[in-house]
């Protein structure tokens, strides 16, 4: 669905641009290609890494970890899993809902979702390529700590 919209927007923009100014459009396409080629090695590496990590850390494996952990150590385990892996939202939320039903704590689920979305160890090589080591380190470290704040507050609000 999202892809279709994205393609529709991109293609219609391209047509519009081409009608308005042919040379400029060609220049834009060249720039697009250039920036793609520049990051392709890093992209390919990260995608391969994702393929490896995601398969080894499947939803089954994750639920086994989260199902057991309670309290702070449980949250720590959950957050580490969340930081490493990247699971699309449409899988995460139902998984999280079923874990809640099985008795996982709200705070643990919150830390899992937040780290999953904000902290990306697997994508770090790509982020470094774009924004350097320091930004990558700071953004991920802060997001990791922040996920515990989110979990703490959500645990208090919802119980």
């Amino acid at each position: 669905m999202f892809e279709k919209i994205l393609y529709a927007v991109a293609v219609s923009s391209l047509i519009l641009s081409y009608c308005k100014d042919r040379d400029r459009t060609k220049k834009g396409l060249k720039k697009a290609w250039k920036s793609f080629v520049n990051v392709f090695p890093a992209f390919a590496g990260v995608l391969a890494l994702m393929g490896l990590v995601l398969t080894v850390m499947s939803a089954d494996v994750i639920s086994r970890f989260i199902g057991h952990g309670t309290g702070f150590w449980g949250m720590l385990t959950t957050s580490v899993i969340g930081s490493v892996t990247l699971i699309p939202g449409f899988i995460v939320f139902p998984l999280a809902a079923s874990l809640l039903e099985k008795g996982a704590g709200v705070a643990q689920i919150a830390v899992f979702i937040s780290t999953l979305m904000m902290v990306g160890i697997v994508t770090a090589p790509l982020e470094i390529e774009y924004f350097g080591r320091k930004e990558t380190l700071l953004r991920n470290a802060f997001s990791f700590v922040f996920s515990f704040v989110v979990a703490g507050v959500i645990g208090m609000v919802i119980s």
Binding site: L14, L29, A32, A44, L86, R139, F146, I154, V157, I158
Partner: protein, 180 residues
Amino acid sequence: MKRIKPYMLLIIVAAADVLLLFVNFDLGTRVIRSTGLNFAQMLGVIPPIFLLIGLLDVWVPREKVIKFMGEGSGITGVLLGILLGAAAAGPLYAAFPVAAIMLKKGAKFTNILIFLGAWSTMKIPMFLFEMASLGYAFAAARWLLSLTGILFMSWIINKLMSDGEKQSIYKKHSGALEGK
């Protein structure tokens, strides 16, 4: 060596995949299949994004971006960062090239961090789905907390980075798209 170096990660992972095939054939084949799917997914999302980036590069004047998201854009830049990030869909890695073109056009570093933060965890399509799965209170509480946290983190990360470090990031992207 210089041409191989960017591919180091890919080479290491591919070697690990091959090794895994020998150790555990079943898991190895699943890894290779899932890697294939990842590449297919990338080929789905990445071409239109780069196409749009290329077009933005030639059509959106730098002055406009500076005015709305640059130094001195104030609250407008912050709101735009949140809005553009939250309206998006797709994995965070798709946000990096978009952020890069915004940097190139002179957007403020803090606003870029806000944009990345919003894209990572405040996306509206995701929020709707989270609400449906985990309930209104959970999703809304997390969204509002994320908003506060992202604003704070972006501000502090920007403070922790020296001008030189930021300049080198800007410089990298001003060249990367010029076709040097």
